[in-house]
Each structure stands twice: as structure tokens, then as C-alpha cells.
């Protein structure tokens, strides 16, 4: 797979993740009930883990996916490495929130799990893209 295809895949996944984050942000500020088949979305969204330093986690996610989208817009090893960095932040924080849902809140938010799946795929794609850019960089 070429770097351009990987960039397109990362961009598509980042858009999907941004869509999830945007929906949760909209629901939070508009008061709209969250569509939820797992039954725990509102519990998670109203838990104290849903806010970091006064900022809703959904908003942080939206900013993160926007940053990933930006890294996919540029070619080269630097953009690829920054993409890996952004994905690592999302992966680590997503894993922490998943543990909090299971062990501390005792409720699962399906949208958060979907976002975790998206960021995992982005992290794998971003790492592969970085390795590919190294291989494609002409030797000095």
C-alpha cells in the first residue's frame, strides 16, 4: 500500500472519529438524549471521567481527530511521525477511559468503544505509514 492510500485511510478514519466526537459534543451541549444500545452512555457521559479540567472529553476527542486529519493532509516522514504521536495520545487516553468505564463507572458507552476501535485502527495505519515513509525516503 502506498503512503497516499494510507493517508486517505487515516483521513477517513479520523473523519469517522470526529463524527463520533462531534455527535457526543452536540448531545452534551444541546441536551439531546444519546442513542444508546448498551444502556450506559448517559451514565458515562455524566460521570466525572467525562470531563478533564472542565473540558468535556468529547471536545478533546474532536480536537485530537482534527489534529490527525491535519497530519494526514501532509506527505513525508515528519507528518507521519506526528500522526503516530497524535494516535499514541488517543490510544493511551482511550485505554484509560475504557478501564474507567469497566472498573470504576461500571457502565459502557458504545460511542466511546467505537472511538477506541477507530483510534486503534488509526494508530496501526499511522505506524505503518511512518515505516513506509522511511522505506520510500531515498538513501543519502
Amino acid at each position: 500500500m502506498s503512503e497516499s492510500r494510507l493517508r486517505a485511510a487515516i483521513a477517513a478514519l479520523a473523519l469517522a472519529g470526529a463524527g463520533i466526537a462531534a455527535y457526543l459534543t452536540y448531545a452534551r451541549y444541546s441536551g439531546t438524549p444519546i442513542a444508546c444500545s448498551t444502556g450506559g452512555c448517559e451514565t458515562v457521559q455524566h460521570s466525572r471521567y467525562a470531563v478533564v479540567a472542565g473540558i468535556p472529553v468529547a471536545v478533546i476527542g474532536l480536537v485530537g481527530y482534527a489534529a490527525l486529519l491535519a497530519t494526514a493532509a501532509f506527505r513525508g516522514a515528519t507528518a507521519a511521525a506526528l500522526g503516530v504521536g497524535c494516535a499514541v495520545i488517543g490510544l493511551a487516553f482511550g485505554a484509560y477511559l475504557l478501564v474507567a468505564q469497566i472498573a470504576l463507572i461500571h457502565a459502557i458507552c458504545q460511542w466511546c468503544v467505537a472511538s477506541d476501535a477507530v483510534i486503534t485502527l488509526i494508530a496501526l495505519a499511522a505506524l505503518y505509514r511512518y515505516l513506509l515513509t522511511l522505506r520510500e525516503t531515498p538513501a543519502a
Binding site: 441536551g31 455524566h46 516522514a77 503516530v84
Partner: protein
């Protein structure tokens, strides 16, 4: 005349190990090889993720009373606006079915029911006038139980109890702490349209409120309620039966409600 400078041999600077050839030894760009950029990005990412997690853990384990900012006002207003309230009852008095909930304002499972399941019950049954909900408050879970329950009873005297019930659950804090100081309670009450928050705080310590709490505790004792939330259901004006639920999901409630509505 040619200058000595122009005729002097120019030697390309040697690249440092790992650096780009042709760059000056002190050149920052030369040092930023792809592997170093990745290392910087990953280390930076770990630091940022660590800060985010650290701030979240610090915020969630804080023993300060109550959340700093009030949440859920819009959800509560959207959910309850336009539905009749009388004392601690929500819904039309002539609704066919009445469901009674024994609950504690500081009980985490009551909060789960309130934020995850109650909205669907309200939309599906209470708003159309089919079901009337009655909140019988208890205060044994934690330090915030009593002020929370007193506030609910005092809001009930103004026929606004359910706004407060819903907002208290949406802003519930750690059950072992008093997350409901008077200042936060007033802030919650002030978001409810038509609720006199000054009167509410005053009524919290009235003899009527104390009597209402005692009556609720006596009802719970007579009904054999040992845990919260506990539900009773029946035709309005008829005998109430305990509703044993295996979970707090909507599906645990709808069969019993639908069966009674079909009678």
C-alpha cells in the same frame, strides 16, 4: 582580478552521525532525522497522554464537595417541561398506572436508573399520561443523602421536586462525601424555572420536611424496602406490588407496565 576567496577550495561540511549530509554540524534540521522525529513525537505523546490521564485521575478522586460546574440543566428541562408535578409525583394524577420508586439521592444505582432509563420511561409512558411516578426518598447512603432528600421534599412543596431529583442525580458526587453543600444546592435550584431557591433552602429545615422524610422512611419500613432503588407498581388507586427487576434497563420495566396498561 580574482579574489583569493573565490579561488579557495570549498569543502562540504561533514555530516554528523545520523544527520543529513551536507548540513552544518550545529544545524537543527540536520539533527532531526526521521527516527528522531518519531522518538520526539512518541515521547511528547506519552507526556501529553500522561498529563491528560493525571488531570482526569486527580479530578475524579478529588474529595472536594460537589462538582465545580453544574451539568444537565438542558436535559432535565427537555425531559420534564410540561409534565404535571404534585408534591413528589410526576405525571397526570389520573394516569392508569402508578410506579413508586424508593431511592436515595446519593445512591449510585439510583443515579444510573435516573440518567439511563428514566428518560425513556418518561417519554414513553409519563408524558403521554399513561404512568405516574412517585419518588419516596430515603437518606441512608452517605453524607449528601439527607441534604439532598430535604431539598427534594422542599422542592415538592413547590411542586418542582422532579426537576431537583433529576438534577441531583445528573450531578451526583462520591457517595462517601458531602457533595451537596448549600451553595451547590442553591446553584442547582436556581436553574429550575419557577422554583424559589431561597424558600427551598429555608423549607429544607422545616418541620413539614422532617415529617415528610419520616413518613417516607415509615412507608419503606412497612413495605420491606432494604435497598435502593426499589420499585412498586400498580393501577393508580389500587394495590402496589413490588417490581423485582434483574437490571435497571428499560426492558426490565416495560413488560410490567404494559401488562398493567392492557388491563
Amino acid at each position: 582580478m580574482a579574489s583569493n576567496k573565490s579561488s579557495a577550495p570549498v569543502q562540504a561540511p561533514k555530516a554528523r552521525p545520523g544527520g543529513k549530509p551536507g548540513a552544518a554540524p550545529g544545524d537543527l534540521r540536520a539533527r532531526l532525522t526521521p527516527s528522531r522525529i518519531l522518538a520526539l513525537a512518541v515521547v511528547g505523546a506519552m507526556v501529553i497522554a500522561g498529563i491528560l490521564i493525571g488531570v482526569s485521575v486527580a479530578g475524579s478522586s478529588s474529595k472536594s464537595p460537589g462538582p465545580k460546574t453544574l451539568v444537565g440543566e438542558i436535559q432535565t428541562l427537555n425531559l420534564l417541561s410540561g409534565i404535571p408535578q404534585h408534591a413528589n409525583a410526576l405525571g397526570r394524577p389520573d394516569a392508569r398506572v402508578t410506579m413508586v420508586e424508593f431511592a436515595d439521592p446519593a445512591c449510585p444505582y439510583c443515579m444510573r436508573f435516573a440518567v439511563d432509563t428514566l428518560p425513556a420511561i418518561v417519554r414513553q409512558y409519563v408524558r403521554p399520561g399513561k404512568v405516574r411516578l412517585v419518588y419516596n426518598g430515603l437518606d441512608f447512603v452517605g453524607p449528601a443523602s439527607e441534604p439532598g432528600l430535604r431539598a427534594i421534599e422542599a422542592a415538592g412543596a413547590q411542586n418542582k421536586a422532579w426537576y431537583l431529583i433529576d438534577l441531583l442525580y445528573r450531578n451526583q458526587g462520591d457517595e462517601q462525601t458531602n457533595w451537596l453543600p448549600t451553595s451547590f444546592l442553591s446553584a442547582i435550584a436556581e436553574t429550575v424555572p419557577g422554583l424559589d431557591s431561597v424558600k427551598l433552602v429555608k423549607d429544607m429545615s422545616s418541620s413539614q420536611t422532617t415529617a415528610a422524610i419520616r413518613a417516607s422512611a415509615q412507608q419503606a419500613s412497612a413495605a420491606g424496602v432494604h435497598q435502593t432503588p426499589t420499585f412498586f407498581i400498580g393501577l393508580t388507586g389500587g394495590t402496589m406490588q413490588e417490581l423485582s427487576v434483574q437490571s435497571l434497563d428499560l426492558s426490565a420495566f416495560t413488560p410490567a407496565v404494559d401488562r398493567l396498561l392492557a388491563k
